[in-house]
């Protein structure tokens, strides 16, 4: 690990002041950042410790939604009674990720910003455009079993590893941030992430020193909620494909659908056209397959991840069958 200067922030304002200087990273849980620092994939010159900031509350919003402090550990968020009762898809996604120890440490804000698990990103002996811009992407013609099938570019085919963020995307989460100049802004999760294009090293729209302080959820959408994750082990493994789904059926027709996908894109994936195709339809495999056709119209495999294309279809259909129950 490269050495660094360390400072513990006692307020969000102090944190963003410290975070605005050069090559500085915030540390909250540290479960991803320190892992990457040990491998010298991340080499910050300064670390601002934000783990003691008073951002640990989960509160009901005036609109019937939820306001979650960015330092709330994943374990606490998953077990929070407001979340288990009203946003079970979020609890389920959190509980499907990592291990008990990691969930006790990893923060809500940090979970959004996890780096990819691409093998080549992790191997500093080989090129990687995300780690060393312009050096190349060995994953395209290499081992790419865990890589993305949607939203990839010539420069990067890495997938986003988070489970939590997939549920957050299905729930239309909004991130509240504080910038070094004192401005606050609200960023929809739909605008947070960037496609890799030819700058895969830039993963979000967050600016230097910009700190996530809260996550806001609107009132839960109408419908039943589920998170279905397919992975190589039954526990403690990243998703090959996952689906966060909220679906409502009324009078034999689908009236609401919110669907986000993990493991298949460089960001938690969501496409309005997939949901629109389901609204008004009679639940059943014909409608479900039509939705999957739209989702996967532009899907592209790279060899060892080709299986994700049929797997994403089957996982989507399975979760839609589950949520539409007898109506299907």
């Amino acid at each position: 690990m490269k050495t660094f200067d360390y400072s513990r922030a006692d307020s969000p304002e102090a944190a963003v002041q410290g975070g605005a200087v050069g090559n500085t990273r915030f540390i909250a849980g540290g479960t991803n950042l320190l892992d990457l620092m040990k491998l010298q994939i991340e080499t910050p010159e300064r670390i601002v410790d934000i783990s003691r900031l008073d951002l640990n509350e989960v509160e009901e919003g005036e609109d019937g939604g939820l306001r979650i402090g960015a330092m709330v550990p994943n374990a606490d968020l998953a077990a929070n009674p407001l979340v288990t009762a009203r946003y079970p898809v979020l609890s389920r996604a959190l509980l499907a990720g990592a291990s008990g120890q990691l969930r006790n440490k990893a923060s809500t804000g940090g979970n959004f910003l996890q780096r990819t698990r691409c093998y080549y990103f992790y191997d500093t002996a080989v090129p990687c455009n995300k780690r060393e811009p312009g050096s190349g992407c060995p994953a395209k013609d290499g081992f790419n079993r865990i890589h993305a099938i949607l939203g990839t570019s010539d420069d990067c085919i890495a997938s986003h590893p988070s489970d939590m963020a997939v549920a957050m995307r299905a729930l239309d989460a909004v991130l509240v941030t504080l910038k070094p100049d004192g401005d606050r802004r609200r960023i929809s999760i739909h605008d947070l992430y960037r496609l890799p294009g030819d700058t895969p090293q830039i993963e979000t729209v967050l600016e230097a020193g910009e700190l996530i302080t809260h996550v806001e959820l609107p009132p839960p959408p109408v419908g039943k909620q589920s998170y279905r994750k397919v992975r190589d082990r039954a526990s403690y493994a990243f998703a090959l494909v996952s689906v966060a789904a909220i679906v409502a059926v009324d009078d034999g027709r689908i009236t609401n659908a919110s669907l986000a996908f993990g493991g298949i894109g460089p960001m938690p994936w969501r496409e309005d056209a997939v949901e629109k195709a389901l609204i008004g339809q009679v639940p059943g495999d014909a409608a479900f397959n039509a939705a999957a056709d739209i989702l996967l119209a532009d899907a592209k495999g790279f060899g060892s991840n080709d299986f994700k294309i049929p797997l994403a279809r089957r996982t989507l259909i399975a979760v839609l069958r589950e949520l539409t129950g007898d109506a299907a």
Binding site: M1, T3, F4, D5, Y6, S7, R8, A9, A14, Q17, G18, I27, G29, G30, T31, L34, D35, K38, R46, I47, V48, D49, S51, R52, A75, A78, A79, P81, T84, A85, P88, S91, R92, L95, A96, A98, S99, G100, Q101, L102, N104, K105, A234, S235, Y236
Partner: protein, 176 residues
């Protein structure tokens, strides 16, 4: 704001109810602090990347991977290691159960397993659900599936898993 590097001034820690001073490099993980600076070598280093759980300790009663956190971040915390859970003359119930059920072969993962199980039993008592829980709310019944899921962050390369589950189940079933 104030920045620290090779601080040159002591860091203060509370571990197993005792006070410790140390002057480690700023990069030192909590695990390396325990093992290399304070001679508390019960916590083990397996992967050093949060994948194996051998380094599990309790911080303010919660189980974490001590390899994936910086010592400097934990100066105001109550840290409990395997040395603080029981002694050879006075085994904690989980330790006695691991002996009784032969919940290990080489023993390298055992301190982490026991610290993790200590934290896990407390989580279950608080009603925290798991990935395999049918319901997200209500009391937790620690079935074997629940124990396995909740302990999935602790690997045992000797594969003593069935006996580890037996040991933890026995303690979980004891009246509080």
């Amino acid at each position: 704001m104030a920045w620290e590097r090779k601080v040159g001034k002591a860091m203060h820690f509370t571990i197993n109810g005792k006070n410790y001073d140390a002057d480690p490099d700023i990069r030192t993980s909590l695990l390396d602090l325990l093992r290399e600076h304070l001679n508390l070598t019960g916590s083990k280093k397996g992967c050093d990347h949060g994948q194996c759980g051998a380094c599990t300790v309790l911080v303010n009663g919660r189980r974490i991977n001590s390899c994936l956190t910086l010592a400097v971040m934990h100066q105001d915390d109550e840290i409990t290691t395997i040395e603080g859970i029981g002694t050879p003359d006075n085994l904690a119930p989980l330790q006695a159960a691991f002996v009784k059920h032969d919940g290990f072969q080489c023993g390298y993962c055992t301190p982490g397993q026991i610290c993790s199980a200590t934290g896990m039993l407390n989580e279950a008592k608080q009603g925290w659900p798991s990935h395999v829980s049918e319901r997200l709310e209500g009391d937790v019944e620690l079935t074997d599936d629940e124990i396995r899921e909740r302990m999935s962050g602790n690997l045992c390369r000797c594969s003593a898993y069935p006996n580890i589950v037996d040991a933890i189940r026995e303690v979980a079933e004891e009246p509080a």
